[in-house]
Amino acid sequence: EPEVTQTPSHQVTQMGQEVILRCVPISNHLYFYWYRQILGQKVEFLVSFYNNEISEKSEIFDDQFSVERPDGSNFTLKIRSTKLEDSAMYFCASRAEQGPLHFGNGTRLTVT
């Protein structure tokens, strides 16, 4: 069964550094998402992306965050200047036109 793949599985970075989290959605999916889960807390919606533009974003998704679909297969989340509180598990998800979300296994981001 096709899967959403995320790389790396674990990323450690220093505060103030830029990080890019990478995702390869399922190939025929059209809608792409990023969620995050701070340790011990619930999964939170960050942003949705369709037709090469952001369709919805949450309050968490401030100017430090950006998303991009640089080619036909990748979907990236960039954090420009990481803060300690950005430490979390970041999940990418994708879906077809009427289908449910399919999630990747996540990237654990640790900001030191």
Binding site: Y35, F45, F91, P100, L101, F103, N105
Partner: protein, 114 residues
């Protein structure tokens, strides 16, 4: 705004016993409802979903859930749990079939006793 409440943070069940995980939602119209499972170190796997039609939905791994509009609930059930069911379970709601972001509950941690 839509919201999801999972009132049980932890549930402990003996292997072979039945299971019910509670989920209540708040949304004005008919919601789209989902249950996801997260095993340690893993991503979120869809167990089942309700969009419309039959209010009792069957999912993978022997799980089922029943949508009760009068109670604003979408409880997850399994008649006999296995040790491999130990995981975190998340109920989620969307109002456009996933066209916007899902709103998740805080999750219920399921512990299986031998």
């Amino acid at each position: 705004a839509q919201s999801v409440t999972q009132p049980d943070i932890h549930i402990t069940v003996s292997e072979g016993a039945s299971l019910e995980l509670r989920c209540n939602y708040s949304y004005g119209a008919t919601p789209y409802l989902f249950w996801y499972v997260q095993s340690p170190g893993q991503g979120l796997q869809l167990l089942l979903k309700y969009f419309s039609g039959d209010t009792l939905v069957q999912g993978i791994k022997g799980f089922e859930a029943e949508f009760k509009r009068s109670q604003s609930s979408f409880n997850l059930r399994k008649p006999s749990v296995h040790w491999s069911d130990a995981a975190e379970y998340f109920c989620a709601v969307s109002h456009r079939g996933g066209a916007d972001g899902l709103t998740f509950g805080k999750g219920t941690h399921l512990i299986i006793q031998p």
